[in-house]
């Protein structure tokens, strides 16, 4: 059988594929405009024209439509380049405003088209490739777009040229347009559903299929079922079409993984106290009033602004930024009474980094007092004030509001006793640290104690700071209380060591103080079974009495208090023993 030779590379002919597909597999680049893997070949733009030589005849054909039959293909020969050059000249006259076409034309040595550009075409970017129309109809099954007229009057439009009520605002047209010619706004008045990136804390949009964050483990995309057009409308499937290794599997389901483990380290982290609940600072309504964590994303090289400090409303560089400490922290009346511990230092860091990125900008920090209690922290604080000129204002901020595109901050300088008003470009709030939303649920499952704020309680505040009251469950990081990174690392290391110590022993040691049942007294009422928080109690159906699982029992005493017939007793702390002890103590005292 004859071979298919593309640019000198021999391969097997495969008429089920097109020349373009085979060339792409071979790593040969052929420019395309009206082609997309998720759509059937259309052959409108003709830019993928290649030279087909078969039986001694040379002809120009479009690679996107031509089957990969045997023969020779030249993708970059003289006539091919000549044809593409002329096509690009035509496109440049048709869509002079399209940057993409200008760039492609430049690759073929065309800076300026020889052909006339009509006045009505001056701002045009559309090359009538029909991708948007086909995408809408063939892939999304919607038909909110179509071609109207023919010949030189052909254009893309909505049904009857009216604002489209069939458009689902999916944005596929905008996404697929190769020349930036179409936006959803041109099609419908209805707002476009933009999906805010969770990782970027709403500062950036993300598609329905996305890698959750840079360096995610595993570094693989996930599909957002709530927004995915396939799961919602049984349409689209573009990701499936474009994924060459065919890794997209719409049938994947979430799985519950069963693992048997010997110990658990609870490190559920923290969340920020929601700005929405802080009315005096705008309840989260103002785009340019953000949290410290959002500011952290703005500083990140992989963040929404690639590390440039820009404010979210218009992405302008802010010249004055107000940082506010203790937002929601140390406010026993309204919010949280505790100190969030990390805000002083990160606010300072943010103010300094802002100054480094925007040298002519001015950072202000409102504070109650600066808690720089860590190694090198105080020196860092001094450097921020002295070298970087961060302006510290001691006092609380009473109100933040927007006016004329500015963020106005009302505060008081308690050192001078004067009211302060700053019309800044942006405000960054150091919102209080609160436990993760689902930490409480987890704590219940693990039979752990939590404090009034929802932080997990350690077994002993001084002597057992990394252990919980539950055997073999340990704590690390902000699950237990707000703390900064060195502290969290130290605690986590301690917890890990505890696990290692636990696992290194031949036998498990357990506190001997556990419950027992006096079977003669037990009526088998089952109250103890229902009150035991550690599932250490069960009913013996033969003897009709309660039993104690001695390994699970933590000796908490709940059952003893609940037992109506005093059949439950704590080993070594039986009532009679307590009484004897009391008696002895009293008699000693009395003697």
């Amino acid at each position: 059988m004859e071979k298919l030779i593309i640019d000198g590379i021999e391969t097997e002919p495969d008429p089920s594929k097109t020349v373009l597909e085979v060339a792409q597999e071979l790593g040969i680049h052929i420019p395309t405009l009206c082609y997309h893997r998720s759509l059937s070949p259309y052959g409108a733009c003709r830019i993928c024209t290649v030279e087909i030589i078969w039986r001694g005849r040379s002809r120009l054909r479009t690679a996107c439509t031509y089957p990969a039959w045997e023969g020779e293909v030249k993708t970059n020969s003289e006539p091919v380049r000549g044809a593409r050059k002329l096509l690009l000249e035509l496109m440049l006259a048709e869509a002079p405003a399209s940057v993409e076409i200008q760039e492609l034309a430049r690759e073929y040595g065309v800076e300026q088209s020889r052909f006339k550009v009509g006045d009505e075409k001056k701002d045009n970017r559309c090359i009538q490739c029909g991708l948007c129309v086909r995408m809408c109809e063939d892939v999304m099954g919607v038909s909110a777009l179509g071609h109207k007229n023919r010949g030189y009057r052909r254009s893309v439009t909505t049904p009857f040229d009216r604002e489209s009520d069939v458009c689902t605002t999916c944005g596929a047209c905008e996404f697929i347009c190769p020349t930036g010619a179409i936006t959803v706004k041109q099609i419908t008045d209805r707002p476009v559903t933009r999906i805010a990136s969770e990782f970027e804390l709403g500062l950036k949009e993300r598609p329905c299929i996305y890698v959750p964050f840079p360096q995610a483990v595993p570094n693989k995309p996930v599909i957002d079922r709530d927004h995915c057009m396939f799961f919602q409308n049984d349409a689209c499937r573009i990701c499936e079409a474009v994924c060459q290794p065919q890794a997209i599997d719409y049938k994947q389901e979430e799985k519950i993984v069963d693992e048997e483990v010997g110990a658990i380290v609870v490190a559920t982290g923290y969340e920020l106290f929601p700005l929405e609940q802080i009315g005096e600072y705008g309840s989260g309504r103002y785009k340019n009033v953000i949290t410290g964590l959002q500011f952290e994303r703005l500083l990140s090289a992989s963040g929404p602004t690639a590390g440039e400090v820009r404010r979210p409303s218009d992405w302008a560089i802010p010249k004055e930024v107000v940082f506010v400490s203790c937002v929601g922290s140390r406010e026993p009346e309204l919010y949280k009474p505790y100190c969030s511990k990390i805000c002083c230092m990160y606010t300072l860091k943010h103010a300094m980094l802002y100054k480094h990125r925007v040298p002519d900008g001015q950072p202000y920090v409102f504070y109650i007092d600066v808690r720089a209690g860590g190694k090198g922290y105080e020196e860092f604080y001094q450097r921020g004030i002295e070298e970087d000129g961060v302006l510290y204002l001691r006092g609380k901020v009473s109100k933040i509001f927007e006016e004329d595109g500015k963020v106005v901050v009302w505060g008081v300088d308690t050192l001078t006793g004067k009211k302060v008003e700053i019309a800044a470009d942006m405000a960054v709030l150091a919102s209080a640290i609160v436990p993760s939303e689902d930490a409480k649920e987890l704590a219940n499952k693990l039979k752990m104690a939590i404090d009034e704020h929802g932080f997990m309680t350690e077994a002993h505040p001084k002597l057992r700071p990394v252990e919980s009251l539950t055997f073999a469950v340990y704590l690390a990081g902000c699950a237990q209380a707000p703390k900064d990174i060195p502290e969290a690392v130290a605690q986590a290391s301690g917890a890990a060591s505890k696990v290692v110590a636990l696992f290194s022993e031949e036998e498990l040691h357990h506190e001997p103080t556990i419950a027992t049942v006096d079977e003669d007294l037990c009526s088998g009422c089952g109250v103890c079974v229902s009150v035991c928080p550690y599932d250490a109690r069960e009913h013996d159906p033969e003897k009709h009495v309660a039993k104690v699982n001695e390994v699970l029992c933590e000796g908490c005493g709940s059952c003893i208090a609940a037992c109506p017939s005093s059949a439950c007793q704590l080993v070594n702390f039986k009532d009679c023993q307590i009484f004897e002890m009391l008696k002895a103590a009293m008699s000693e005292k009395g003697s």
Partner: protein, 617 residues
């Protein structure tokens, strides 16, 4: 029941129909196709009916309303049998006299006879008239012999005999072989061998096959398919049924443009009648073979004559072509093997079956067999539809059949093949008309349009006309066709408006190259032909437009000036009165003057001046 259960019953019916007709009885034939109706043939027919109904006592006078008889310029035509006296351009007022004088008394009405404009000679009979003399009307010939609304008329002239022959035991392969040997080639423009196409379709993989008829004739000035469908719809249908049997299709479509209501009406009647006689439907002539045809109406887009666009349109989608590296005979309508032929091609099929491939292949040239219907229009004396054997020279067509150029003007060029064709200059007048010769000359056969041009036609303007037509009729899907035509038009417009510049011709040639090499369908790949062929044969005319800012044919208004020859002007004031913008000043009996700044160059003064005093330069 009318149903014909076997081939013999068709023959019986034919014999019965023929014996019931007496050729010696008077019969009035009136042509009334669309062209006839445009000249009030409907009214003429109505008057004939009224007049004849008054004479029922005499009885025996037949009236047959036929389709177009080809001589469109002289429609409606009346032929009175049995003498076969030929009256062209009959008016309603002439009817009474025709009946009383010619039909009843057998007298010839001299004033109604045809006068040849070239020689001034009067002719009594059709076959004597120069326009008809050199024609060989194989397809068209039956138009005069039948009423298109009557299947009985068609059967009486031997209609459906070919189908009966085929279904009396011929193998499909045998039929394909006959069609292949006949040398019949597609009449739609491409000239692809019909038998080869049928064979590929028959051999293509798939259960369902379609047989399609392309009646989306869109070339400006071409209407032969319309006239065949209007005048003899059953011949097309018979061809399609034979084709379906040979290919193995049981379903067919005819795609008729919306602008052809009469053709559609006649074809629909033909379908209904054929079904009544069991010629369409299941078990045709008891052969076990079944077939039926549906009519699909086109919106009149020129591009829908392109095979893939036509099929997409039948499918109910926007009529746009698609790539056909895999041919439509393998993947056509609904991705099924589909055989598409033009109206005229189908009409040839019964002929070939009846008379044999040997007979057919003797007509025409080595590679182009049979006859071809052309619509001969433009600056010739006799315009109309002509059916001539392949290989006839352009000179014979234009001078012998067309009667030469109108007025005392000089022949300049003939445009063939419609918008995708090209112009052929005087030097090639002896070119034999066949597929190859026309293509070699830079034009093409196309569907058969033939537009004759004289010295008053500007070739740049002609190119601009066709480019403008195509610019509008291109579907607009692919870049080279859509944008190439836009730019070609701009350049041609510049040239005709006096803004032509050096390099324009080269730009036109560049555009032509990219259009013909990279366009998606044949509309685009051939769209540059009018430009290329005019540059090839009339390049000087382009150069004069560009360099000297002059239009030698005085067509491009921006490049001409009207003024009055003082010597010839008699001061009659006719031009002065007629000028719509009062650009002519003067008093009676004194020389008039044209104010160039107000003159809109409409040419009225030139036309009305009896003394040739208005000069165009």
């Amino acid at each position: 029941m009318k149903v014909l259960r076997n081939p013999q019953s068709l023959e019986n019916l034919r014999e019965k129909l023929v014996s019931a007709r007496d050729p010696s009885q008077p019969l009035i034939i009136l042509s009334s196709g669309t062209c006839g109706r445009a000249n009030r043939s409907d009214e003429v027919a109505q008057v004939f009916r009224e007049e004849l109904s008054k004479r029922t006592v005499n009885g025996g006078i037949g009236l047959r309303i036929t389709g177009c008889l080809g001589f469109c310029e002289r429609e409606p035509i009346v032929v009175v049998h049995p003498q076969k006296i030929f009256y062209p351009s009959v008016k309603p007022d002439d009817v009474e006299e025709i009946i009383s004088e010619t039909v009843v008394k057998g007298n010839v009405i001299d004033r109604l006879l045809y006068v040849d404009p070239a020689s001034g000679e009067k002719f009594r009979y059709e076959h004597e008239i120069p326009f008809y003399k050199k024609q060989q009307p194989l397809i068209f010939g039956d138009n005069i012999r039948l009423d298109p609304k009557s299947i009985e008329d068609y059967i009486a002239v031997g209609g459906y005999g070919a189908l009966a022959k085929v279904l009396s035991g011929m193998d499909p392969e045998e039929i394909i072989d006959i069609v292949k040997r006949s040398g019949l080639r597609g009449r739609g423009g491409g000239g692809f061998p019909t038998g080869v196409k049928w064979e590929s379709c028959r051999k293509a993989e798939g259960e369902q096959r379609y047989v399609l008829c392309n009646a989306d004739e869109g070339d400006p000035g071409a209407y032969m398919d319309r006239s065949v469908l209007e005048g003899n719809p059953h011949s097309v249908l018979e061809g399609m049924i034979i084709g379906a049997y040979a290919i193995g299709a049981d379903e067919g479509y005819i795609y008729v443009r919306e602008e052809y209501p009469l053709a559609r009406e006649h074809f629909n009647i033909a379908l209904k009648q054929a079904r009544e006689y069991g010629i369409l439907g299941e078990n045709i002539f008891g052969s076990g073979f079944g077939f039926d045809v549906k009519v699909s109406r086109g919106g009149g887009a020129f591009v829908c004559g392109e095979s893939t666009a036509l099929m997409t349109s039948i499918e109910g989608k926007v009529g746009e072509p698609r790539a056909k590296h895999v041919h439509t005979v393998e993947k056509g309508l609904w991705e099924k093997p589909s055989n598409l032929n033009n109206v005229e091609t189908w009409a040839n099929v019964p002929l070939i079956i009846n008379k044999g491939w040997e007979w057919y292949s003797k007509i025409g040239t080595e590679r182009s067999k049979g006859t071809k219907i052309f619509s001969l229009v433009g600056k010739v004396n006799n315009t109309g539809l002509i059916e001539v054997p392949m290989g006839i020279t352009l000179r014979e067509v234009i001078y012998d059949i067309g009667g030469g150029i109108r007025g005392r003007k000089r022949f300049k060029a003939v445009q063939t093949g419609g918008p995708s064709g090209g112009v052929i200059p005087e030097s090639l007048l002896d070119l034999p008309v066949d597929f190859e010769r026309l293509t070699e000359a830079g034009s093409m056969m196309g569907s058969g349009g033939m537009i004759v041009m004289d010295e008053d036609n500007c070739m740049v303007d002609i190119a601009k006309y066709f480019v403008n037509f195509l610019r509008d009729e291109s579907c607009g899907k692919c870049t080279p066709c859509r944008e190439g035509l836009i730019q070609m038009y701009e350049i041609l417009d510049d040239i005709t408006e006096g803004r032509g510049k050096k390099g324009d011709i080269e730009q036109l040639e560049d555009l032509a190259w990219v259009m013909s090499n990279t366009s998606l369908c044949a509309l685009g790949t051939t769209a540059a032909n009018p430009v290329l062929s005019t540059i090839k044969y009339f390049g000087d005319e382009y150069r004069v437009h560009i360099e000297e800012k002059r239009c030698p044919a005085h067509v491009c208004k921006a490049l001409v000036q009207y003024h009055i020859d003082e010597e010839k002007c008699t001061g009659c004031a006719v031009c002065l009165k007629q000028c719509p913008v009062s650009a002519i000043a003067g008093v009676p009996k004194e020389v008039h003057r044209i104010d160039a700044s107000t003159c809109i160059k409409c040419g009225i003064c030139y036309d009305v001046c009896k003394f040739d005093a208005v000069v165009v330069e």
